[in-house]
């Protein structure tokens, strides 16, 4: 069994260049991983939930879903009823519509912070691991610096500083520009590349002297080609696992930032809804908190399970460990 997989792996490496082994070409790393992931029913359910939320977010961003969240549909703080499942908020707006529209913020916070964090983390990590020596020292120093300040302090400080630019940024981007959301994106992006960078560096370090890289070198591949074409595809699984976790961290951080007054302001978000409950709970208004928490719970749980399942599928060595 072990020999078989070893052979399979070797063929896998070879068939990157060698078209003569067409028969098993489909069995790439990703294909294997998908095969393993398919076995896991809970993971598939989680994936469907994530996709569902993504579609809801997309539709509401396009204005096709819950675009009328700002409309007043009833009295202030109406309790949940068959008409409005989660009641109304202070202004008499439908809470369910706000929850649906808030999906936009939740998903975009995860997506955009990943878009910021992945290029930084991947590039720095790969370069540090591959070149070693003083390049490595500088990059390690750089991320140690970032990670020495507690995450929440740095997150807070960055969001705080960006928010101070309210006037100039709004005049630049127009009045529709939501400075709060922008600050959340940047702050989360700039704080979350460190973990990825560290993991990628470690993995590249393990890969750089492997036979397949040596082989590529023997065939005349330069540093850039070896790194981009050969090593990075073999460490991408870390990026994927990390992204799944990044989404849930981002969604949860948005709530904290809202509490600190550094969150989204122009549109509904689960963070602001949960934060509003500070004043509402004492009056017995629980529905805004309940609705936003439920919506968040389902998707964060899905991302958590998916992250674990992805790790098991893409990195079977670690299976069952956590």
């Amino acid at each position: 069994m072990i020999e078989q997989t070893a052979i399979k792996n070797r063929i896998k490496v070879n068939d990157m260049k060698n078209d003569s082994i067409k028969l098993i070409k489909n069995r790439s790393l990703w294909f294997d991983a998908w095969d393993r992931l398919k076995q896991d029913k809970i993971a598939l359910v989680s994936l469907s939930i994530v996709l569902f939320y993504a579609i809801v977010a997309l539709l509401s961003a396009m204005g096709l879903l819950a675009a009328d969240w700002n409309e007043i549909v009833g009295p202030s703080y109406a309790a949940p009823s068959s008409e409005h499942w989660f009641g109304t908020d202070f202004l008499g707006r439908s809470v369910s519509r706000k929850i649906i529209n808030g999906t936009q913020v939740a998903m975009s916070v995860g997506l955009i912070s990943s878009f910021i964090a992945i290029p930084i983390g991947l590039t720095l990590g790969a370069v540090a691991g591959y070149f070693g020596k003083w390049v490595d020292e500088i990059i390690v120093w750089f991320y140690t610096t970032f990670s020495s300040i507690p995450g929440i302090m740095l997150l807070m400080s960055i969001a705080f500083v960006i928010k101070k630019f309210q006037d100039s940024l709004t005049s630049f981007f127009g009045s529709d520009f939501d400075i709060g959301l922008f600050a959340v994106f940047i702050a989360l992006g700039l704080t979350s590349w460190v973990g990825l960078c560290r993991l990628i560096r470690g993995e590249v370090l393990k890969h750089k002297d492997r036979e397949y890289v040596q082989a590529a070198g023997a065939l005349g591949a330069g540093h850039f080609r070896k790194l981009v074409k050969h090593i990075i595809p073999n460490v991408t699984h870390i990026v994927i696992i990390n992204t799944s976790l990044q989404f849930q961290i981002a969604i949860k951080s948005e709530v904290i930032l809202s509490y600190l007054g550094l969150g989204v302001s122009g549109q509904p978000s689960w963070g602001t809804m949960i934060n509003d409950a500070k004043e509402e709970l004492a009056r017995g208004v629980y529905w805004q908190l309940l609705g936003a928490t439920l919506a968040m719970f389902v998707v964060v749980l899905a991302f958590n399970i998916l992250g674990d399942a992805l790790r098991d599928a893409l990195d079977p060595k670690l299976k069952g460990k956590s």
Binding site: S148, I149, P150, M156, V255, I256, A282, V300, D308, G320
Partner: protein, 314 residues
């Protein structure tokens, strides 16, 4: 041992560039990127004289390089100047805030760590069985709820509705503070259970698949003896080192819990500084926490060599 000493010395030297880097990051954020604080402090229409005077007072008339030097100096001397909003000496504010923070975080952390290890051992003992699955799923589920929700709901039900705890506030001196910190402690423990149990379980399972466990089993030792006498003892090494790195964060208190329950600790102080745009306190807090973090990671490495003689630091 000589090698270890060498290593520790080198690590101590490494503190310097990291600290310089932290200062640089803070300098970039607050002195370069952030807008001029003078206008924030003086309101909309200050006179020219006022501006010049305040810039002089805050040290903002210096060149950027010397502003950076000022930050570095404060990191090494712990003299952070005065707060803009309360006009107090920041180091004194730190001293005053540290005690309420520690009365909350120290017991909370201790209880949370022991409970988590307890559950992690149970989970590791029954690995693969129903109870393992149940606890693991509960952990993930608990981690999927925002910490703010726990705080809101617990405060509402346990303190406001049922009156089991104080709603908020703080009193100095033992045992008075206990009335105020017990609910935050409970919330802290519940918040840490999810991630901690998962983490400790991983550490214990890392050991369970080692060769010496197989040997112990082959000798005919019972699963219980193996777990408690062999596995747990070895797993203690990463557990201890992990907890050491957490210690600096205890000093910082908990931003959310302290501000929510009005406990006048360092976390609460930070949030107030944030709301008052109090740059010096925010800067000082970042530097202070970074210094603590760097120091405790060094401690972690040293403890590693003491508890695990197999490890030679290079």
């Amino acid at each position: 041992m000589n090698g270890n000493l060498n290593y520790i010395l080198r690590r101590l030297l490494y503190l310097v560039p990291v600290l310089l880097g932290v200062c640089f990051l803070i300098f970039i954020l607050f002195n370069v990127v952030a807008p001029d604080p003078v206008h924030m402090l003086l309101g909309k229409h200050p006179s020219q004289d006022q501006i010049i005077q305040l810039r002089e007072q805050l040290g903002l008339n210096k060149s950027l390089f010397f502003q950076y030097v000022d930050i570095v100096r404060s990191a090494f001397t712990f003299d952070f100047g005065r707060s803009w909003s309360t006009k107090q000496d920041i180091s004194t504010m730190f001293m005053n805030g540290a005690i309420p923070s520690l009365t909350l975080t120290l017991p909370a952390f201790t209880i949370a760590t022991f409970t988590s290890i307890f559950f992690a051992v149970i989970v590791a003992y029954f690995r693969g069985k129903g109870i393992d699955l149940f606890i693991r799923i509960s952990c993930i589920a608990m981690m999927s709820i925002s910490s703010l929700v726990y705080i809101l709901v617990f405060q509402y039900f346990l303190a406001f509705k049922w009156g089991l705890f104080e709603i908020s506030g703080y009193e100095y001196g033992f045992p008075n503070f206990l009335y105020y910190v017990s609910l935050p402690i409970l919330i802290w423990v519940i918040l840490s259970l999810g991630p901690d149990i998962r983490f400790y379980r991983t550490l214990i399972l890392d050991e369970i698949y080692q060769d010496y466990v197989r040997t112990a089993r082959a000798k005919g030792l019972s699963e219980r003896v193996i777990l408690f006498k062999h596995v747990l003892r070895n797993a203690m090494i990463p557990i201890v080192t992990y907890t050491v790195v957490q210690l600096p964060f205890l000093l910082l208190g908990s931003l959310l819990l302290e501000s929510f329950f009005s406990i006048p600790g360092l976390g609460d102080m930070t949030i107030n500084a944030l709301n008052a745009s109090d740059f010096p306190v925010l800067k000082a807090m970042s530097i202070f926490s970074a210094v603590a973090y760097i120091f405790f990671t060094l401690m972690q490495d040293i403890i590693y060599t003491i508890v695990d003689p197999r490890i030679k630091l290079q």
